[in-house]
């Protein structure tokens, strides 16, 4: 998948004028986000439920190395094979060799964001192995060759007419219809056939339980269950932070995950796998591989300031309420992860230099932090990334800001602690901006702040500031309020 994080502004400017996507995005806060609020109220105490899930995620990350070890032990004991990949390349190699060794020419895939992150589909295609996405949204996005628009609904922005045309063109459907049920049915029949012959099925993992070595998938379509029950070999790919201490913890996270994600109390399918098919069982793969892909997580973990990023459970709630995401959609973020969760994760995985706009295109409104079941403070992380970028932090690939900006802030830094300098600057500013001022308002400031002045005015610096009015008032000249 092509990384386009540096094209944020150009893609966003295009997408913000996409009327169809905008109409859909406009529904996210009042409908999906509201549904989340309603379903949260089914907890006896929603605040405590949220606190508990945050505590679980916090504990999971605090104990991450131990929990991973425990998970590996228990999963291995149950017959699964746990493999570790240090980065995307190693992960791709592992998957490819497992598939090749089994002589498979195609694989079916359940929805998995980490496979997007490591560019698995491209690698499979290059190796002449056909990856077949079986999640309806992923299937459509794959056919259209588009990046995911939303981490939960990757093709949720695609108009139904476009899906009809695609399905007719690709022979997935014969009848000309825009009935969503018929479209879903056509995809279902088409994909069902693939499952009948699979040797290898690939899935992601929603949670890995340390105490039992179980992997859990949460879904609504049943395709992941097929990917796990039909093949001879199941390969499930996860990043280390998916681990939770106990099954009990996992059950609570599922409650929050489903509510935060789709406003459901529970999704249509929740599957728990502890090892492959055992003697006497009818369903399930003969072998189960669990690949744990680090791909930068160890470094995220090692830095105490960034560690909380790993608490994310990929519910997507932060996208649905973000005032920026709900204007521009997922494409401008330029990679697998979008919205606030992508804005905190992508810069750490790709470097602050390549993701400049991701941690700046934020008003610090805090809706993401407020609803996050993982307890992540996204706005504070953005401030941290900005500071690391300014100082040119080497580990995070900070770029340093333009000279003009650095000079402006160093002057600001001098003035803020010196009353005389501050007041002189203010008076100078007032004098210099006089020529732009009319009736107490500025309609432009020459080359300064062109963005602001495009559709907005700004008050001129007051002829009598509060400081000046206060002095006058205390002298008794100004009418005492």
């Amino acid at each position: 998948m092509k990384i386009r994080t540096e094209e944020f502004n150009s893609i966003a400017k295009k997408e913000i004028n996409n009327a169809y996507a905008r109409a859909f995005l406009g529904l996210l806060p009042p409908i999906i986000a509201m549904r989340r609020v309603q379903v949260m109220s089914s907890f006896p105490n929603p605040d405590q439920a949220l606190k508990l899930s945050r505590a679980i995620r916090s504990e999971s990350i605090a104990r991450l190395p131990d929990l991973l070890e425990e998970f590996e032990q228990k999963a291995t004991k149950s017959g699964a094979k746990v493999l570790w990949a240090k980065d995307a390349q190693e992960a791709r190699k592992l998957v490819l060799s497992l598939i090749r060794d089994r002589g498979a020419t195609f694989v079916t895939k359940g929805k998995s964001m980490v496979t997007e992150e490591i560019g698995l589909n491209e690698a499979l295609e290059q190796a002449q192995i056909e990856p077949i996405e079986t999640d309806l949204g992923e299937f459509i996005a794959q056919q259209l060759n588009r990046p995911p628009f939303h981490i939960v609904g990757p093709a949720i922005n695609v108009p139904v007419e476009e899906i009809r045309d695609l399905f007719l063109r690709e022979g997935i459907m014969k009848e000309d219809t825009t009935d969503p049920v018929q479209l879903g049915y056509a995809a279902r029949i088409y994909l069902r056939d693939k499952f009948h012959h699979i040797k290898v099925g690939l899935t992601g993992v929603n949670m890995a339980v340390a105490e039992t070595g179980t992997i859990i998938n949460v879904e609504n379509e049943g395709n992941i269950r097929f990917n796990k029950s039909s093949p001879i070999t199941q390969i499930s790919i996860m990043t280390p932070e998916k681990v939770v201490p106990s099954l009990r913890d996992a059950m609570h996270i599922i409650r929050l995950l489903c509510r935060s994600c789709t406003g459901q109390k529970i999704s249509a399918y929740v599957t728990l796998d502890t090892g492959p098919k055992k003697a006497g069982e009818i369903d399930g793969p003969e072998e189960l591989y669990i690949i744990i892909v680090d791909n930068g997580r160890s470094e995220i973990y090692a830095n105490p300031r960034t560690r909380e990023v790993l608490r994310c459970i990929r519910c997507g709630a932060c996208l649905n309420t973000c005032p920026v995401y709900t204007k521009i959609g997922g494409y401008p973020y330029g990679w697998a992860y979008s919205g606030p969760m992508g804005q905190i994760l992508n810069p750490l995985l790709l470097g602050l230099d390549r993701t400049q706009d991701l941690y700046r295109a934020c008003t610090q409104c805090g809706t993401c932090r407020d609803i996050c079941p993982g307890g992540i403070d996204h706005p504070a992380l953005f401030l941290y990334y900005r500071s690391c970028d300014v100082e040119g932090n080497e580990k995070l690939a900070g770029k340093k800001r333009p000279r003009s900006e650095r000079i402006s802030f160093s002057l600001w830094g001098l003035a803020v602690k010196n009353k005389l300098l501050w007041n002189t600057a203010l008076r100078l500013g007032r004098f210099l901006t006089k020529k732009y001022s009319s009736d107490g308002w500025l309609t432009n400031l020459g080359r300064l702040f062109p963005g602001w002045f495009k559709e907005r005015d700004f008050p001129s610096i007051s002829d009598s500031t509060f400081r000046e009015r206060w002095k006058e008032m205390r002298k008794g000249k100004y009418g005492h309020p």
Binding site: V390, E405, V416, R456, D457, F458, P459, R467, M473
Partner: protein, 244 residues
């Protein structure tokens, strides 16, 4: 008689001093003595937002040296209050001033919070004939957890009817630098807010945050709309405080 120290942030001082004057007027009307330290400048939020934490730290140190001894600090700018409460202790984590920062943060109040929670006053004797809607500014609602206080104050204003605002808790698109750098996104956000304001049927939209005030009024002024946004203090203080 209570005594409070005023923190009048730079945006109010320079661009909307009437919000500061309105704050003084309300407090004095209630018999609260106000002091204003002339040395105050800025809380440091613009620097912190832009990634210049070292300069924000300077601002924090200075703020503490000026306000450190005050028993109660009141400000009509929720965002700056949030800056002090949320980020000063973090900025000063390794600084000898850290205990002061923590201590100070418990003594800083946003205006409506001070009136309702500390003074236990809900009726400040204000009058306004018309409909008002309330915009839940981000740092006030989600940062400070303040929402009930401004509304209860509004409910006691004579002649005023409070009407609901759709998506009241949605950001207006200010965000400091954001509004310039990503103006094309910010414009869509401010338009939504103004459209919801129009649809609410309110005569004025009330906010407790100067940032939102400047953003929304800046947009309304350019669009030559008759309606305007007032800071809560301006509405409570009376018509002579409702200009810039």
């Amino acid at each position: 008689m209570s005594k409070v120290s005023l923190f009048i942030p730079c945006l109010v001082d320079m661009f909307a001093p009437s919000i500061g004057m309105a704050t003084v007027a309300i407090l004095e009307r209630l018999g609260v003595e106000t002091v204003y330290h002339d040395e105050q400048t800025c809380c440091g939020q613009p620097a912190l937002n832009a990634g210049y934490g070292n300069y924000a730290l300077e601002a924090a140190r200075r703020f503490i040296s000026i306000f450190g001894d005050d028993e109660v600090i009141v400000s009509p700018a929720g965002s700056c209050v949030y800056m002090i409460k949320r980020y000063y202790p973090e900025l000063l984590e390794d600084d000898p001033l850290y205990p002061m920062a923590v201590d100070l943060s418990s003594r800083v109040y946003e205006l409506s919070q001070y009136l309702v929670d500390v003074l236990d006053i809900t009726d400040v004797g204000a009058q306004y004939e018309g409909k008002v809607a309330y915009h839940e500014s981000c740092h006030i609602l989600r940062g400070l957890g303040i929402s009930r206080q401004p509304k209860v104050l509004l409910s006691k204003v004579k002649g005023t009817e409070i009407v609901p605002l759709f998506a009241a808790e949605m950001c207006c698109g200010f965000g400091g630098e954001f509004a310039d750098r990503y103006h094309y996104i910010s414009e869509e956000m401010v338009k939504d807010k103004v459209n919801n304001f129009q649809a609410s049927g309110a005569d004025v939209l009330i906010t407790c945050e100067p940032g939102c005030y400047l953003n929304l009024n800046g947009f309304l002024h350019r669009q030559q709309e008759n309606k305007k946004v007032l800071h809560l203090a301006q509405l409570l203080a009376g018509p002579e405080f409702q200009g810039l």
